[in-house]
């Protein structure tokens, strides 16, 4: 039984599987099979498979697709967009998939486009991913030559073109409505929802935006079926997932593992545990905008709802570990500086609130904070909570702050009472810099 559908073509060498190798290894079989099915049946299959969005939100992918208007009177032009704007601090899974097996993503996009009836698709890739973008462009050329893309695919009336759109920086572009504005050639500012992109997205047309890893799940799910896919997961959630660990572990990296793999197994077995002389103090389970978990949570399985109930989010599934010699206040300050700088400036609580939080954290980290500052920081998290802004950037920024204030409360207090950072880390109070 195939247990590593996402990485089976990925070897040790940093090369991408070309289309011949990809097809020799069952590549584009899912696309052929999907093309022989009714689009509605594909949507049902993906829904039943229980594939949840791997970008971080964990929404059922088939259900997301099902909101696209279908039938004779629906808009003729629809779009599929691959969100390849991986920029979450601590996330490094989509780069791997795009650089090393670009055809898997192309195949997933072809099936998605066919299921919702889109004849155009874009890969919205961050401008810094030069290698991934050029490998994807090469893969698209190859797929066209093999008539997997282009006009009248498999001698049918279905045609599809996929284009690579290289973006030019800015974390907010990963938010799907900001992404749509960016792709339309505007400033990447989030839109109000509803209407949701599935109804009114790119240029007002029905649009599905899916993450790279989500789309890479589609080909094998269609080819090998719902039962196989569900059995890949160990617990509640179906399928496999790229999990990763960064920070001061012995063997940082990314591995395809069953959904529901316990955190402890990922950190201790796959990442080799902490470096000698260091203890695990806490972890961000899925990127910089997820709440910290403590060592009490190590036996939790990495399933969306389990991690959600523990007070955090599985997010991207790439874990950042915090060791006992690294200052938690410094790390939270670093994350908050990131979110403050990446705020698009559209909503006041985010534009003004995050730099304010940075200032408070700078005071505490440099030893100039007071106990009132700790209270102020808590209040600040409430002011940028969900519902106060158009998108989830500011609420996401609040997650590591609010959880750190609880889990590492003593560290915050020590900074205030000692009037210095007990960890003696290098100054982290680099001012926000403007791009040229």
């Amino acid at each position: 039984m195939l247990t590593n559908p996402l990485t089976k073509n990925i070897g040790q060498d940093n090369v991408a599987a070309d289309i011949n190798r990809y097809m020799d290894n069952d590549g584009y079989r899912g696309w052929r099979k999907a093309h022989s099915m009714a689009p509605d049946d594909i949507i049902e299959l993906v829904k039943d498979g229980g594939l949840r969005g791997r970008g971080g939100a964990g929404f059922n992918t088939g259900l997301k697709w099902s909101f696209v208007p279908r039938g004779e009177d629906s808009p003729k032009q629809k779009y599929v967009i691959c969100n390849a704007d991986e920029m979450e601090p601590g996330a490094f899974k989509d780069r791997l998939l795009m650089e090393r097996d670009p055809h898997l993503l192309i195949e997933g996009m072809a099936i998605t486009a066919y299921a919702i009836g889109a004849s155009q698709a874009y890969i919205f890739i961050r401008g810094e991913y030069h290698l991934a973008a050029s490998r994807l462009e090469q893969a698209i050329v190859e797929a066209k030559q093999q008539k997997m893309l282009g006009t009248n695919i498999f001698d049918s009336s279905f045609s599809l073109d996929i284009y690579v759109h290289r973006s030019a920086g800015n974390y907010i572009c990963g938010e799907e409505t900001a992404l749509l504005n960016a792709l339309e050639g505007k400033r990447a500012i989030p839109r109000a929802k509803p209407p949701f992109p599935q109804v009114s997205g790119l240029w007002g047309k029905p649009t599905v935006v899916n993450n790279v890893e989500t789309l890479c799940n589609i080909p094998h799910l269609v080819n090998l079926g719902v039962e196989w896919y569900k059995n890949l997961g160990l617990g509640e959630d179906a399928g496999s997932k790229i999990f990763g660990v960064s920070g001061k572990v012995k063997n940082p990296g990314a591995w395809e593992l069953p959904m529901g793999t316990p955190i402890r197994e990922i950190i201790e077995k796959h990442a080799g545990g902490m470096k000698d002389g260091l203890q695990l103090k806490g972890l961000l389970p899925g990127g910089g905008s997820t709440d910290f978990l403590s060592t009490d949570h190590l036996d939790l399985p990495m399933d969306y709802d389990v991690i959600g109930k523990a007070g955090s989010r599985m997010g991207t599934g790439t874990i950042t570990v915090l060791d006992d010699k690294t200052c938690p206040v410094g790390l939270v300050l670093n994350l908050t500086q990131f979110f403050a700088r990446e705020s698009c400036g559209w909503c006041t609580p985010c534009r003004d609130g995050l730099p304010w939080a940075v200032k408070i954290l700078e005071r505490i980290e440099s030893g100039n904070g007071s106990t009132e500052d700790l209270e102020l920081l808590k209040e600040q998290c409430e002011r940028i909570a969900p519902g106060h802004t158009f998108c989830a950037l500011a609420p996401g920024a609040a997650e590591p702050i609010q959880s750190a204030l609880v889990l590492f409360e003593q560290d915050f207090i020590n900074h205030v009472t000692m009037g210095a950072c007990p960890y003696h880390s290098i100054s982290t109070t680099t001012p926000l810099t403007k791009h040229p």
Partner: protein, 188 residues
Amino acid sequence: MSSLLEPELIEVMEHSNSDSEDNQAALSAQEKEEIDQEATHYQQRFPVGLEALRIVQKHRGWISDETIQAISDYLDIPVAELESVATYFQLIFRQPVGKEVIYLCKSSSCWIMGCDHLQKTISDRLMIKPGETSEDGIFTLLETPCLGDCDKAPVLMLGEEMHRNLDENSINALIDKKKKYYADKSSD
């Protein structure tokens, strides 16, 4: 130490770039061809604007007011619209930058693995802070959002090339290599 905001430096940069086609208003045939190619990907004009900015910057190093005007004329997109996009995106430069842009990842995993120390190494060596260009006009140092290579932290991107698992020695070696390249080039 020279800030990008100092007009003297901008003058220096403009002068040093004048032997290439920088700041010449009209788009070159090559630039137009590349823009036309990207334009086939869209049914609308507007999205081609960012692509054009990216393409022209690749050839000229940065986007001057004259360049914006030239793209505006070519694509029939209002200057204000292009300007709003050009000033929004981090990878579009509205001021001159060095020949080599160092994108230093400052996000969480790289921070844990010591990117502040790397920044100090670079800043001390080149006498520039993030956002500034070295006096010889070779290097610009920029802080960048997570580069998505966190298991190999700390990392930076030099131009389009990733450099991973960095320490003080490898950073210095990298700077030496680039300095030598430009020294050899100018003595040719």
